[in-house]
């Protein structure tokens, strides 16, 4: 019965040996026996009931995935890679901000501009793309398949939360603080614009539900665009984790490329489709911010297409890892 074999393989990939042996194997064994003893006309129904029971058990057991301890070596390797990537790429992305006429015109010390304006923006831009090398650090470990998967799930959740916090609170607050410090004495500090407003402030903004006119600037449209963009940037780290994981699980002759090249490809794809999405939004009179979802849609399609390709099992010793 192929369905139960797949269920057992799924269980082995996601749960520890004890959970598989004591909880999921007995469920599958009873399911198999019920199927074999059922008359042919009842077998489809038996399959559905067994699959529903298995799905229910997996949902009930899913907290165990998050509670699976991550080996210290993997955790520190992942953190180091992400930190280095963000510092280097975020630092490089900070240079145009530091050299722009807007920041050079004001009299704020360079370290203040770097810490409060350039680095937060650079880190927000760089962080999602660090996920590719982070997944490689997990995947190239000697840990059991379920430990690797648990670590990847935790990475995706932590990355999403980090982006929500960074974009929604830390970066807007730091940017506004920079504007306050950059205001010459005697001048009025500019109030936070939408980019310097927290996500909560945008969600509760009184003008959020006012009229929007396609192809025209409206404050409601700008709020919506800002919110959509933040939502997309919060999702993309998890999406990139999934894309890289899927790519590593479905190896072909020239696929997946090394992590560095894959990061560049992902960045090109992301920014290319983001620009295209913005153009399409303008051309087809879509509501503001809709175009920001195009990179997500393309990445999802790409990930699904990767999964449709028959995996080549490279790790024969431990097929559960593939």
């Amino acid at each position: 019965m192929a369905l139960t074999s797949r269920a057992l393989a799924f269980a082995s990939r996601w749960f520890d040996d004890a959970t598989v042996r004591h909880t999921l194997e007995p469920l599958i064994a009873d399911w198999q026996r019920e199927w074999h003893t059922a008359p042919p006309s009842r077998r489809a129904w038996t399959s559905v009931r067994g699959a529903a029971a298995f799905a229910c058990a997996v949902v009930v057991l899913s907290p165990r995935i998050l509670l699976t301890p991550t080996p210290r070596a993997i955790g520190s390797r992942v953190m180091t890679r992400i930190a280095l990537f963000c510092l280097i790429v975020g630092g490089l992305l900070s240079i145009p901000i530091l050299r722009s006429p807007d920041t050079r015109w004001v009299d704020t010390p360079l370290p203040v501009t770097l810490l409060l304006l350039a680095l937060p923006v650079g880190i927000v831009m760089a962080f999602p793309f660090a996920m590719v090398i982070a997944v490689d650090a997990i995947r190239r470990s000697d840990a059991a398949a379920n430990v690797e998967r648990a670590t990847v799930v935790k990475l995706a959740i932590a990355a999403t939360l980090f982006m929500v916090l960074m974009q929604g609170v830390i970066a807007p607050f730091a940017n506004q603080r920079w504007r306050e410090l950059s205001t010459p004495p005697g001048w009025t500090t500019p109030p936070p614009s939408f980019g310097e407003s927290s996500t909560w402030a945008l969600l509760t903004h009184p003008e959020r539900h006012t009229a929007m006119v396609p192809r025209n600037y409206t404050r409601a449209g700008e709020i919506r665009r800002q919110l959509m963009s933040r939502m997309v940037m919060s999702i993309v780290p998890a999406l990139f984790v999934w894309l890289r994981w899927t790519a590593l699980s479905h190896r072909r002759r020239f696929w997946p490329p090394p992590a560095g090249l894959m990061t560049v490809l992902v960045a090109v794809m992301f920014f290319g489709t983001a620009v295209l999405g913005f153009r399409l939004e303008y051309l087809f009179l879509l509501s503001p911010g809709t175009g920001a979802w195009l990179p997500v849609a393309v990445a999802l399609l790409f990930g699904v297409a990767q999964q449709c390709v028959e995996p080549r099992r490279l790790d024969q010793a431990n097929p559960a890892k593939t």
């Binding site: 139960t4 909880t23 194997e25 007995p26 469920l27 026996r33 229910c56």
Partner: protein, 103 residues
Amino acid sequence: MSDLPRLSNTERLIIELLMDHQELFGLRLVELSDGRLKRGTVYVTLGRMQEKGYLESRQEPLPPGGIGLPRRLYRPTGLAMRILAAWKAAEQIYITGGNPQEA
């Protein structure tokens, strides 16, 4: 004196069913429970009870020509039976207000 281990209603039902029938597999427990045990969660409870030492299990030998995984048969341990007896006694005392003559 150590605290009396907790016993949920589901755990209690499973121990009672197993005490009545000696040894059962998960799906049979669901059938015998008249809908009180659910197929999607009974195995999780059985696994947890095994970890607590309330149940022990063995794999049923496959019948001749049988394929697939062998089923797992569960039976209660002495610990589970003692805990159940203790809870029943405690309930009795609670109902009768501590006077066993009223039982």
